[in-house]
Symmetry: C2
Subunit: 455 residues, 2 copies
């Protein structure tokens, strides 16, 4: 792939985006080359910061001609190394693409450029009396382009679906330089193949998303939040199922196991309940009218939920959410987190938890284990702290356990570079062949994010 | 493509599926060769009825070797000729694939073979205390495979999304014989490209879907239905927007214009309201508790909705729904319906209606015009009766008007053979190039449904 002289390419890139937006100085590159967890880093040929889709297309053509690979990057908040450059690649940052059209209130949609943050979309939707269906803790840094590339999940998936379900259309540059563009699609649009859905979750290996039209939902701005102490994961699942069935306003059901909650409290979170429990649920209801009576009534009819606190005012709710959303950062203060993202069928989830501690201890003796996640999706984040930064033994053991129990090796973080070896164990030969055929069709020279997803 | 001797292929097909499932007799083929509207028909080489996915794969390999095209068909309820054979093709009927796994209550999903009807999925979901998110009038004939191939929409899209949003995984045979299969995917599954979403809506041109894992939703089985008489489409849109904003239980908002309602009443529907109106809304709310008070209150706060009837009991609700769901059949009794499926941005919908009558009259003088549709999706079904069966003049004029006003030429029916010429006017050159690249990757010899979608 490389081996050609790079000076002419750098001159080309400076001509396309302006010399001040081609960062070759290692000190300037660093923030783009190291991921926030500290696990992934690489030396880019240069960091290139285009201003719009036309410049992205020109950069792709220049890199293709020079046979230099491109690693697209949004907010660099990913967890599987998918946006960290491999040596010699051009790091293409989308953060300057921040164009933001007015919300289409009637159509229930908004068009945002790739570099707009998730928080910005939420703010715009809210101001228009609407809501965006995907939310996650990294909302202030994560970009729309990044959430599309990784098909981000988060806390509302059981209700609203993944990012893929929100994307009504995209503008993107494919690996062969083709510009696809559908930013005015109505909600119902059966005019050909689902290019937007295909690009969503393709982790920058098929095309570089430069903008998207996103579905917005009616806003449900009255909220009530409960924190519930429970005897274990099996009981937490039973409670969550009852709530899903009887509380239409249910908007989030997050599980936190005892060890993870202890870390949140140690790093400044308020202790939420008087008692100690093996597992906790953070439950939120959202409605057009105060949902607290419904939430309280729904919990009251479920046995074993006596140690519960319910909050409706913003500050009290924020204190409860801080326990969950602060976890990635709280845990990273305890050491380098190995963050393992799995989903299991709900009936297998308790059995997975039962075997998890022994599995991790056997793989990485003396390491510490923390578990939290999006319970109704069967999606757990397993955090192992202790193993060296490059030691994947515990990660592999947890993924193997998930697969053994009928789960998947990536629920919402993606494959990235971290799980390339695992993809073939989770997907069939036919599925992989079909994916390779698409990759070749969209990126015939393999310049887009090589090493990621399909390897 | 053809020109080779077909006797060896027929012998092969008989060996694969059994001679009783290869129908070469024109009398037996007829039900598969003519669509229900009477607009599309063709002579198949044979109708082939495989029993399962392995036989489908063998049929594809045999046809590919013989270079004979395949037209896949489910319930044959499509409206754009996509499942009607072109001369010399093998008509591959999926109707014998009816395997149905028990509902996965915890996972909120069910696996159904392609030939299972939509009604069967609804029954199974309901029996398990869940619901399937897509529903439409042809539910007793339409198959799951057909609804996936066409990305069926229907009456709940504004709430639950299209079929593409329900499909968690598929089993399918691609045009090159590759079997893709992901029927055990959890709700969150970020392991590679969205093969299921790509195949959904590909109209049998990329692969033949043999089974799918479908997302199920919590059941909201208390229902209330209102029929509202209004002054026109602009007012109907205003009412629908208010309901969407203030009534979270809102589950369906169907519009019927006066001429269409008159036909429903003429063919046996009960007259719903004392007054005559330019436009009517059929509104339904669904909740875990009786939604009638909320529905009545929501309507009461909207001015101009005085001529309204509300029904909660099943028989009364069915009488209201019959006015909407009987329309395709009621209209077909008036003549051969030219059924035109468009979607427009909501702010353009009233302007579209304003110009529609003159547009149709200019294109097909003396023809009759009927309009109904899924209002919150901006999706109207325009029915023109009068023009000859093969005269597309009025269809083309309506599609041109929709495009001129920023709409799409296919909201939920698909492109089929009917709108191939229109696709290039609605989608960009880059989008079409990307679609062709996918088509070539999945079906290199072009044996799957040639003439459909990309032409």
């Amino acid at each position: 792939m490389s081996g050609m002289p790079t000076a002419p390419l750098l001159a080309d890139l400076e001509r396309i985006v302006g010399s001040e937006h081609v960062l070759a100085d290692p000190a300037l590159r660093l923030g783009y080359e190291l991921d926030w967890s500290g696990r992934y880093r690489g030396d880019a040929l240069a960091v290139v910061r285009p201003a719009g889709p036309e410049q992205v297309a020109e950069v792709v053509r220049a890199c293709r001609a020079a046979r230099v690979p491109i690693v697209p990057q949004g907010g660099n908040t990913g967890l599987v190394g998918g946006s960290v450059p491999r040596a010699g690649a051009v790091l293409l940052s989308l953060r300057r693409l921040t164009t933001f059209e007015p919300v289409d209130v009637d159509g229930g949609a908004v068009v945002a450029a790739a570099g707009a943050t998730l928080a910005r979309v939420h703010e715009a939707a809210d101001a228009a009396g609407l809501a965006y269906g995907v939310d996650l803790a990294a909302r202030d840094s994560a970009t729309i382009g990044g959430t599309i590339a990784t098909n981000a999940g988060g806390i509302h998936v059981f209700r609203n679906g993944m990012t893929r379900d929100q994307v009504l259309g995209v503008e993107a540059v494919l690996g062969d330089g083709t510009l696809v563009r559908r930013l005015d699609a109505p909600r119902k649009d059966n005019t050909g193949y689902a290019l937007a859905q295909l690009l969503t979750g393709s982790e920058g290996t098929l095309g570089i998303v430069t903008a998207a039209r996103l579905r917005l939902l009616p806003r449900r701005d009255r909220r009530a939040t409960a924190f519930v102490g429970l005897g274990g994961v099996a009981q937490a699942i039973a409670v969550a199922r009852e709530l899903r069935r009887h509380l239409p306003a249910l908007d989030a059901v997050e599980a936190i196991l005892a060890d993870a909650l202890a870390v949140a409290v140690r790093h400044g979170g308020d202790r939420p309940l008087p008692g100690d429990h093996a597992a906790y649920l953070l439950v939120e209801a959202a409605d057009v009218r105060d949902p607290e009576p419904d939430l309280v009534a729904a919990l009251a009819r479920i046995p074993g939920t006596d140690d519960t606190v319910v909050a409706s005012d913003g500050a009290a709710r924020a204190r409860l959410w801080r326990l969950r959303e602060g976890l990635p950062e709280d845990l990273s203060r305890e050491g380098v987190p190995h963050s393992i993202d799995v989903a299991l069928p709900l009936p297998r989830l308790a059995g997975f938890i039962d075997r998890l501690a022994a599995t991790v201890e056997a793989a990485a003796p003396g390491s510490r284990l923390f578990v939290f996640g999006h319970l109704l999706d069967g999606n757990l984040h397993v955090i192992v702290i202790g193993p060296d930064i490059d030691d994947d033994t515990a990660d592999d053991a947890v993924l193997a356990l998930a697969l053994e129990l009928g789960g998947t090796v990536s629920a919402e973080h993606g494959i990235g570079v971290a799980k390339v070896g695992w993809l073939a164990r989770d997907r069939s030969a036919g599925d992989l062949a079909a994916m390779r055929a698409i990759k070749h069709a969209f990126d015939p020279d393999g310049i887009l994010n090589p090493g990621v997803l399909l390897g």
